[in-house]
C-alpha cells in the first residue's frame, strides 16, 4: 500500500511517500497511524498529536475509523491552509 505525507508531516518523516506492507491487524486509518508512529522517531514526531492529523483514502477525506481494505493510497497531512 502507498502512503503519502504532506507539509510538515512530510518534512518530519523525511519523505513524500513510501510503499508499506501492513500486518493483517491494521484495519482502519487510525490503526495505520498508530502503526506508523512506532516505526521510528521521525514518525513519532510526525504523529505526536494524532488529533490534528488529517487523512485521505484514495484522494477522499477519511475519518480515523474509516476502513482501509482495498485502498490504493492513504495520505496523511496537517489541517489545510489553502485558499
Amino acid at each position: 500500500m502507498k502512503v503519502l505525507y504532506f507539509a510538515w508531516i512530510r518534512e518530519r518523516i523525511g519523505k513524500p511517500e513510501e510503499e508499506v506492507e501492513l500486518p493483517a491487524s491494521i484495519a482502519t486509518v487510525g490503526d495505520l497511524m498508530n502503526w506508523l508512529k512506532k516505526r521510528g522517531e521521525e514518525y513519532a514526531h510526525a504523529f505526536d498529536n494524532p488529533k490534528i492529523v488529517r487523512a485521505a483514502i484514495d484522494k477522499v477525506h477519511a475519518e480515523p475509523a474509516a476502513k482501509i481494505a482495498h485502498a490504493r493510497e492513504i495520505a496523511f497531512f496537517p489541517p489545510m491552509t489553502g485558499g
Binding site: F6, A56, V60, H61, P78, P79, M80, T81, G82, G83
Partner: protein, 157 residues
C-alpha cells in the same frame, strides 16, 4: 466549470472574461481573489510557498463545485489556485461564480471559499528573511465552513 491548479500567475481578468464569454444569461458575477499579503502576524514576509496533493486537490474542489451547483442556480464557476512560490501582491486563489441573480452568485462564491480553506488539500508555508514556517489553520475558517452544514441558506436570512 473550470478548476485549475497552476504554478503560473493567475490572470483574474482573463478568467472572469472566459466565464462570461458568449453568455447572455449572466446577470451577476462575483469574484473572490485571495491575495498574498506583505505581512503575516505583523512581520514582513518574502513569499508564501504552497504545497498541494495533486489529483485530490482538483477532485475535492470539483466535488464542492458540484455541490454548489446543486444548491444554487449557477451559470458558471471558475476556480484557479496557485501552487509553488507566490510573492506579495500575487493572487493565490480565484473563485468566480456567475448566475442570473446576485444572491446565488454571492452565496456560491462564499461557500466555495469557505470549503476551499478547510477541505482542499493545500498547505502554505511562510518564507521570511530568517527562515520558513508552516501557516497554522484558522479556527474561524472551520466555523465559516461549518455554517453551510445547515440545510440551505436564504438570501434574506
Amino acid at each position: 466549470m473550470s478548476v485549475r491548479i497552476t504554478e503560473a500567475p493567475i490572470d483574474v481578468a482573463a478568467e472572469t472574461a472566459a466565464l462570461a464569454r458568449g453568455r447572455s444569461d449572466i446577470g451577476a458575477l462575483v469574484t473572490f481573489a485571495g491575495i498574498c499579503r506583505g505581512e503575516e502576524e505583523g512581520a514582513p514576509i518574502a513569499a508564501l510557498v504552497l504545497e498541494h496533493y495533486p489529483g485530490m486537490a482538483e477532485e475535492e474542489i470539483k466535488r464542492h463545485v458540484e455541490e454548489a451547483k446543486k444548491r444554487w442556480p449557477l451559470s458558471g464557476v471558475r476556480i484557479a489556485h496557485r501552487v509553488g512560490r507566490v510573492t506579495p501582491g500575487e493572487t493565490i486563489v480565484l473563485v468566480a461564480a456567475a448566475s442570473a441573480h446576485r444572491e446565488a452568485a454571492f452565496a456560491a462564491a462564499e461557500f466555495l471559499m469557505d470549503y476551499l480553506k478547510t477541505r482542499a488539500p493545500f498547505w502554505k508555508k511562510v518564507e521570511r528573511a530568517d527562515g520558513t514556517q508552516w501557516v497554522a489553520a484558522r479556527k474561524t475558517d472551520d466555523a465559516a465552513a461549518g455554517r453551510w452544514k445547515k440545510p440551505g441558506r436564504e438570501a434574506a436570512e
